[in-house]
Symmetry: C2
Subunit: 382 residues, 2 copies
């Protein structure tokens, strides 16, 4: 048993929790808050809800919404300029992983200066960030509880992963009601992202009993609720369960890190600006097939958690059923079956494999990975 | 679904984790640390280990060990005087619940002034505490992760429960190796304390999906590992599992609060200065019998988690088996069977029942409780 660390933000969870955002910022000492979001979330009305709560709390604010999916380095540079000019002293992120990761990245530069590229890698942040309050609206990224921020280097066209305890927000406010504005496709993709977090954290080389508990519970919830959550945008029970699954999978991967799925999807996402959840969803079963060899007992446990009858099966047999189950789930919720369907071309693969090998997430993958392994998995998933 | 809050410290877990205490304090900005412990823990050598790490980290320290089991208000008054005179700026608690609760209480007065009685109840602390790093040595109290501190009012002879998010330490360092110096009786009692935390948090009116996960895992671990941990003081697997169970049960009850067992044991412990874990262990099955009516499904789930075959049983039948299982566990590890065995007299009962009714823990008990209910439970447990 190695020495393991487990870090979490304060979590406020439940329908209507959004209304506590003003009070939370005041409690953290905020005098003026910088709200980071994106145009889609803005249009869905969630930024208005947040500013209305801020006004009730007599808390001035500045809004910055110039964030795209897979947020770019230059968006962060611009964001911190606006932050500094606006004399804010706390940050609220409202949205999916992109808005929250961008809010974190802007916060790094706000108190540490320099360029976001300076912080790529593990533990590069020196000074404490401003108070951070995150409101996820996708039940996907887990960024509201994690010590990660992923930003695209627009010149190198790769995703930079920034890992630091300083990136764990002070408070994560999860209001399942915010999930009702997600469309079917986004619900499916972000839900598969949760599943990927749970599975990669569970089989990670850095998994601990504290992360396993969270990963297993998230997996159970996704197996049960992702289908009904995708089927109906108003199913409150399913939305609440998926919101909880997102937090738990986030706590798991934040502390156990991830694996080859994320390394590969970061590579593709950085180069082709494709949706992170969709990439993970396509790659997941192929990486599971590759990893089964490394952790058959954990695969068997996953099969059980997904409700598969494993009586009389060996761990490898049960593990293969777990993989089939994940494939069927993706099929049922209409995830594309292969990467070529969403625009990956065969000639990109060598470059993608090399980038994936250099991603920090590859280090905790349970099976050793070479560049030719990655090449092979990409070709299977093409 | 109500809005729920979940707060945890940073957790560092694993054999040898104690060696990180200096680094942790420095990271929190400490210049000189105040080490709170008790004579028993001192004698077991753990304070020396901590001071040796502090010296390696060039971190000056002051030791305060004048703490007794069920720490008293006047010990806190004395402790804060020494703290202020020593010009420390951070606090380390080393020991069981008593040392850790005392370390928290001293920290309250260090930055908030006044008398510890001023803070009894919920959310009475106004100013942030000094950085707090806790090293539990008992795998019992969960105080290293909780938002509670329980201090005896020596005049009224009652336990004061102080609840505040400010009491959640910054860092909990759990080194399972510290458990090897516990004797059999202390291992049994503190282990039953863990079980009580898990069960009361699980059936609490304030339970949430986040606390349930922790409570269920703790329950499973205690059911499997408390017997072997009590049987051998060097069984590393069992000690590690019980250390993890203590953290998880602590996270559960810190956020879901407790119930009648704790209300009753606080009443008796404050009046008769008896070991908290032993009181909980004796009272637990009697309170479970009383509470079964309120939460039969949760009792059935507990039976399952403890490995009982519940096929074909109603939830009430399965729940009764769970209670029998807890009784058998207590018997196996030689917990006294009744309160009279450890000195409770019948004539104290009315006073004890009244004190229990006024304890904050009674508010989250799943079944309504009157003073005559408490009287009846005390008489059964006598």
């Amino acid at each position: 048993m190695h020495i393991s660390k487990f870090v979490t933000p304060e979590i406020i969870f439940g329908k209507g929790a959004l209304s506590q955002v003003g009070e939370c910022c005041l409690r953290l000492g905020a005098k003026k808050v910088f709200i980071v979001s994106d145009p889609g979330v803005m249009e869905a009305g969630w930024v208005d809800k947040v500013t209305s709560v801020c006004r009730s709390s007599h808390l001035p604010y500045e809004i910055f919404c110039e964030i795209t999916p897979n947020p770019k380095d230059y968006e962060i540079t611009k964001g911190v300029k606006v932050y500094l000019a606006s004399e804010c002293d706390a940050v609220i992120g409202v949205g999916g992983g992109s808005a929250i990761d961008a809010a974190k990245a802007i916060s790094i530069l706000a108190t540490n200066g320099g360029n976001i590229h300076d912080y790529e890698g593990v533990d590069k942040i020196q000074y404490p960030l401003p108070p951070l309050v995150m409101l996820p609206t996708t039940a996907g990224s887990g960024a509201e509880v994690s010590q990660f921020s992923v930003i695209v280097d627009s010149v190198r066209q790769v995703k930079m992963t920034i890992v630091s305890k300083s990136l764990v927000p002070d408070i994560a406010i999860t209001d399942p009601y915010t999930l009702v504005t997600k469309n079917r496709e986004l619900t499916a993709e972000t839900g598969m992202d949760v599943l990927t977090h749970a599975i990669e954290a569970f089989v990670s080389l850095a998994a601990t009993p504290l992360t396993d508990v969270q990963a297993k519970n998230a997996l159970t919830l996704v197996a049960k609720y992702l289908r009904p959550s995708t089927a109906s945008h108003t199913n409150e029970e399913a939305k609440t369960a998926m919101a909880m699954a997102s937090i738990q999978a986030g706590l798991a991967f934040s502390n156990a890190i991830l694996g080859a799925v994320h390394a590969m999807s970061h590579a593709v996402g950085g180069y082709l600006d494709m949706p992170h959840g969709k990439l993970n969803a396509i790659l997941l079963p192929y990486v599971m097939e590759f990893n089964l060899l490394a952790a058959p007992d954990k695969f068997m446990e996953m099969a059980q958690l997904m409700g598969i009858n494993i009586a009389g099966l060996t761990s490898a047999e049960a593990g293969r059923l777990a993989i089939l189950h994940v494939k069927q789930l993706a099929l049922d919720i209409e995830i594309p079956l292969c990467l070529s369907e969403i625009g990956l071309k065969e000639e990109y693969i060598p470059r993608m494999s090399q980038a994936a090998l250099e991603d920090v997430c590859i280090l905790t993958n349970p099976r050793d990975v070479t560049v030719s392994d990655l090449d092979r998995i990409f070709r299977k998933a093409l």
